[in-house]
Symmetry: C2
Subunit: 781 residues, 2 copies
């Protein structure tokens, strides 16, 4: 049973804990308690192995294609977490009947995982175990582990095998050539692997320090086997004695920037000597450095506090910030955020629109440097996007639905779950026809620009993205002679239960926005920044495509509300499909149950949606639709939406708040938090839902905080949930940090750098350069 509120005192709302252990439900804790630092992600499988465990270690950006039939994915690198522990010959196996005082905690504040319990051997001996580990935010290459075994009431023989095991795979897919394996000085393990296609060297260096009541145990038994190097420590631990095992591992790859151009041997030497430096410090000092980095880089920066009657609300928010940190390769702009972060094999480590629409807003407002890095990843991705456009017969940049290494282009899987009718795998069309992502990225570039004012980024990268995506769209549009407008046929919109639709509203509006942005920036640049204009004009023949943009922009079909009920058709056919009773699926305890009754092809003929589609359009382009239209459509579509995507709830929560249903919004906030942190024990098996983590932040700040950037203007219409007394957060606005406190009665904003700010609060514009205080009517305005 996961528990989320056991932190006391200073640790209150900082602890995610598991107070009992079930070996049949391992994935939840493995994923939600996963550790990481953006460079690598380490799934929190327990030290002792269990059937069904998933031991994952991913290093961001190290994509590899295991063979020509597979897509590029993040390879599961060697495991260092598994320890084979035997007490008097019995394998340690935490079954409830033989375990007492079990607790596993992830301390979000210092990002350390600990686990302790007392285990009874079959002959009744009591042995206390404590395990600790962290993945350093101070030294991005370091995994530190510590184990203590204390014999409480008798003498026991302890056997611990530990090392580096590269026999692991991604669900059976092996990505590595076996490399050299070696033990230096009977204690430093070196294990190398190389990815079979992308040619990336991985270097593992591990050192152990085993000691019994402080006396070092020398000369472990050494074993080098296929793809593994193991050391075994054996000793008798008498009653009251304590056996400690410290294990430090460094992980480096030839993709690391600091290794650019270096030979394998030189990299290994550098890696090994860095391990030796860590070794001299030891676990506790390394933990201290790591905790300091979390304080400086995370908690000190991402101010967020919620005074709620439910402690869970704050814990869940911190949990989201924790994962937003560990999942994000902030150190390298060649890397994006994976849909499951670095916490599981799901979605192969690929980046989707999840980044731009759900996660990026957090970074734009909280850590623009990281936002810039993530958008630079998309800039580098223009190479892949142009490849994809070309191979699909289009001009410009057509972003991949799933992106891996930026130059590669589309990496989407082609085959998915079983079709219950045909017994075959369902073809996955998203990589071919879910095309809105191209406009989503252009939209995100503009959001970043508007919020940060980062002109250099625009000049170097941003404009080029917007122009070349707009070039794609005008080439993509199809002229409908009968209706005398351009349409976009045969796509998938955000609602992925509708494939091969024509004129998906979201797609059309976003394509329109993309082209409009290009026209606007073309004009601005031409007038205001000739250098950049000329460079891009030469590179992209802007003058030519500008004509096409202007020709298309007025004739691109934008679906409008029906007269009778103000419902906007999600696509040309949606409203004509049959309506069925969805109660069963709306009440489901886990997602995707509808596929037990219907094939995807059958779903195409039913008015059922996987996730927010029009709703996200209302959220992102809110000024294009009236409140009446929004309400009418919310009431029409939400009952037909089964929220099988984790992207759905946060949008609906923000919308509900916008539409003044604060209590529904709060309920949806809780639901969104429970996607990973809830009672459904299998929802996180493939990894945490990263978009939902960004969504949680957005519900808090964009929803309850009511913050939005419209046409370059900051707006804040806060509406706290009933249970909340106070919400504090900070954002970056035009280079300045704004600290915001919202209570039921008051909005207070502090301009930290004392630079002038203009903000709209409930339709009144305020300007200030120190502190703004606006009193709010109880219950929102």
């Amino acid at each position: 049973m996961m528990k989320y509120d056991i932190g006391k005192g200073k640790l209150k709302n900082w602890i995610v804990a598991d107070s009992s252990f079930s070996s049949s439900l391992l994935g939840k804790a493995e994923a939600i308690m996963s550790l990481g630092n953006g460079y690598m992600g380490l799934r929190s499988a327990t030290e002792e192995p269990y059937v069904g465990e998933v031991r994952n270690l991913f290093v961001a950006g190290t994509f590899n294609k295991s063979n020509s039939l597979e897509v590029s994915e993040l390879p599961n690198a060697a495991d260092v977490t598994r320890l084979d522990i035997r007490v008097d010959g019995e394998r340690l196996d935490v079954t409830p009947s033989r375990t007492a005082n079990y607790v596993r905690t992830l301390n979000l504040k210092v990002a350390e995982l600990t686990r302790s319990f007392i285990w009874l051997t079959s002959s009744g001996k009591e042995v206390a175990f404590t395990f600790k580990r962290f993945v350093s935010l101070d030294n991005l290459h370091l995994i530190a582990m510590n184990m203590e075994i204390e014999s409480l009431n008798a003498d026991v023989e302890i056997y611990v095998e530990s090392g580096v095991n590269a026999q692991v795979t991604n669900s059976g897919v092996q990505h590595f050539y076996e490399g050299e394996k070696r033990i230096y000085d009977k204690k430093y393990i070196e294990l190398l692997q190389k990815t079979v296609e992308s040619d990336i060297d991985f270097m593992f260096h591990t050192v152990h320090r085993a000691s019994l009541d402080g006396v070092t145990l020398e000369d472990p038994f050494m074993r080098i086997d296929r793809r593994m190097v193991m050391l075994t420590y054996k000793c008798t631990v008498t009653k009251g004695q304590k056996l400690s095992l410290q294990k430090l591992t460094t992980v480096h790859t030839s993709r690391d920037k600091e290794f650019a151009g270096m030979e394998l041997q030189a990299m290994c030497e550098q890696a090994l000597s860095s391990l030796k430096v860590s070794e001299t410090k030891g676990y506790d000092a390394l933990l201290h450095e790591h905790a300091l980095a979390w304080e400086q880089k995370v908690w000190g920066l991402y101010t967020l506090d919620i005074d709620s009657k439910h402690d869970f609300d704050l814990l869940a928010a911190r949990f989201a910030l924790y994962h937003l940190t560990v999942m994000t390769p902030a150190h390298d702009e060649r890397m994006g955020i994976a849909a499951k972060g670095l916490s599981g094999e799901g979605y192969q480590g690929h980046s989707f629109w999840d980044t731009e629409m759900f996660i990026l807003p957090f970074f734009i407002y909280s850590n623009p440097k990281v936002a810039r890095s993530l958008l630079t990843y998309r800039y580098l991705g223009l190479e892949g996007a142009r490849k994809k456009a070309q191979s699909n017969g289009y001009e410009g940049a057509m972003y991949p639905w799933e992106a891996a290494w930026p130059s590669e282009g589309e990496v989407a899987q082609e085959w998915g779950r079983v079709d219950i009718v045909t017994g075959k795998q369902t073809k996955i069309w998203t990589g071919f026809i879910e095309q809105h992502i191209t406009a989503d990225i252009a939209f995100a570039v503009r959001q970043y620009y508007m919020v940060t004012g980062d002109q250099a980024f625009m000049d170097d990268h941003g404009y080029e993205i917007i122009f070349d995506t707009a070039r794609f769209w005008v080439d993509r549009l199809e002229w409908d002679e009968s209706k005398q407008h351009y349409g976009i046929n045969d796509v998938i919109g955000p609602d992925e239960y509708k494939e091969h639709v024509d004129n998906n509203a979201f797609t059309n509006y976003f394509a329109h926005e993309n082209i409009q942005l290009a026209i606007t920036y073309y004009q601005q640049l031409k007038e205001q920044n000739t250098d950049v204009f000329n460079r891009l004009n030469e590179k992209l023949q802007l003058d030519e495509v500008y004509i096409a943009w202007n020709e298309a922009i007025g004739k691109l079909y934008l679906p409008q509300p029906r007269e009778e009920d103000l419902v906007i058709p999600q696509d040309d056919m949606y409203l004509m499909k049959r309506i069925i009773d969805l109660t069963k699926y709306k009440n489901q305890t886990h997602v995707n149950t509808i596929f037990e009754d219907y094939s995807l092809e059958q779903l195409s003929d039913i008015q059922v949606s996987k996730q927010a589609d029009l709703m996200i359009l209302f959220y992102l382009l809110e000024d294009k639709f009236s409140q009446e239209v929004k309400i009418a459509n919310y009431n029409y579509y939400e009952p037909k939406t089964i929220h099988d995507s984790s992207l759905s709830l946060s949008t609906h929560a923000i919308l509900a708040n916008d539409l003044n249903d604060t209590s529904l919004a709060y309920r949806l906030y809780r639901q969104a938090c429970e996607i990973d942190l809830g009672p459904e024990m299998k929802s996180s098996d493939l990894g945490v839902h990263t978009a939902s983590m960004g969504g949680i932040w957005q519900i808090i700040v964009m929803g309850f905080g009511g913050m939005r950037m419209m046409h370059g203007t900051l707006r804040m219409n806060p509406k706290l949930p009933l249970h909340w007394n106070k919400l504090e957060f900070a954002i970056n606005w035009q280079g300045q940090r704004l600290e915001v406190i919202v209570t039921k009665n008051e909005l207070v904003i502090k301009a930290v750098n004392q630079m002038p700010v203009t903000i709209e609060v409930y339709e009144t514009e305020y300007s200030f350069d120190q502190v703004l205080t606006v009193s709010l009517n109880e219950g929102g305005q």
Copy 2:
């Protein structure tokens, strides 16, 4: 705890059983109870999974090289044995405290594995489980499984997930591309895989029949995931009800002879329809057909009976015959016997000299057709052997130390266990310099010929092997100017603890024998069979190499006994190395403990041997050495031999018998039997010791039965162990079946076809054509 004597009545000495289960020692039962039919081998992992299990399914001859850095090996194909079983949501996990009446048995007579027990749920419900399975000897492609679950004292919810899982690897090495996955008619699973290098299609077809008290359960939940297809059956089993699940799987590959030239789709269709035929029969009828095949092809053919005070003696002999059957790809002469059979990943499915020296004698005397197939594998292997010779700069055929697909040549691994001094992996030299195998194969060809009189085999294959191996040897010899003889330097002999030695006695004598055979057959053929001679002379330029053979044969150095103590130097340096106290290693409970104290390089300087070296020479070329010399060397070398190879004991047992130490011989017989069937629970983890299985048969027939073929003459000098009253066996001699009964007082031989036989018994020659009875003096002569 393994037990080996629980069969009662008709099943007496037919049952290998396990009466309790330990999840920390899985390998033993997995390997020794493994099933197979020579086409495929299925390791006997339990249905419910455990940490540390090894689920293996190998199809003989389907070698693949997973990448350019690996050697060819038998790939671990998809698993069908695993069932995920939950009772009231709890995963079935046979822990002693919750399990009663546990027993797992391998019935050797019908080659069926069964397992039954009562399991207590955590709420105290009692559920009885019975599992059965076999790998058909009647239909080589069929794996049949049956499960019954009965609820004894309450209602339980049962969940069973079952299907085909191709996520398995060889210790992390993946050999397959993922192929098509499909479910036909909601019940027939199809899963295809293709080896990545050797391009072999594997086709799995599985059908389930689940029923509750006879009523079929329809519409399982279907899941197609990465490299797997699964069906889930869920139901409530009320008290007294029985849930049955029958699972039939066929395995086919494009390497199957009957599929030659066929397209994948046609193969699949044929495979699926063959499954449907099996489906109509059902488990019990299929088992009956399978048992009949075992009676006809195995037990009815391989007469072997021992009347011993220790039942184990007979059980172990039957166990050996069982494994000699399941390990041997008798259906296809393109395939050899793997060192671990098809029962584990050890030695990658490669064939060594183990086949010719340890296993082949059994088949030569018991089933010459299979012996011929195995030697034809070596004939086809001439292609690989010539490749190896060429790449090593030699002429003729230099057989690979490790062989896979016959045309490939050498496939030995290059790196082995950790060197405790350097911390690196030890270089494995056998593939380069353990060269005696070339002569071993020539020797085996002659043995086969002499025993069977199969002239057609010699004409088509046998002579060519002997001539081309002899060609290799004369090119390989090195002239020693100072000693005026030819030597063979820088080799490994049978004793692999001595690398890079000069003039290993076994190697030199066997090379000499090989060349001598070539000379003899050259002369015979030239005189008696001009057609064959001319064909081979043209192909191999015999006339030319014949001169070289004659030049070399008299000058090849054959190490002789030292004057002072009659000890023959195992190699030029052995007797000059230092002698250490080996007591610790002689008393070891598992092999290879010496490597915890010494590196292989260090062992090179010590008079310590891994296994029989001179002893096997004495056994195979017994008439070249006097009894005194044999005794002197036995007494010198055996104390220095730590029997770290399973090849060692059987040779020593036969030698001990030859040297009249019957009680030592019996003790060594027991030890040889206990290599797999003994108390050391980890010795079989990587698979059974196939050479030892052949060795067990040899100890019985060549040792206690005293049978030998010398210069074409059959000899039998039986000497039964004290505990044995009677030994019965049958052999094939010159196309006739001879049935032999040995008691303390009498030797009776029946010539089944009533063809004349000449045999030497204790130096007296007898001729007969019906029954020979020779009375023996008690205690041997």
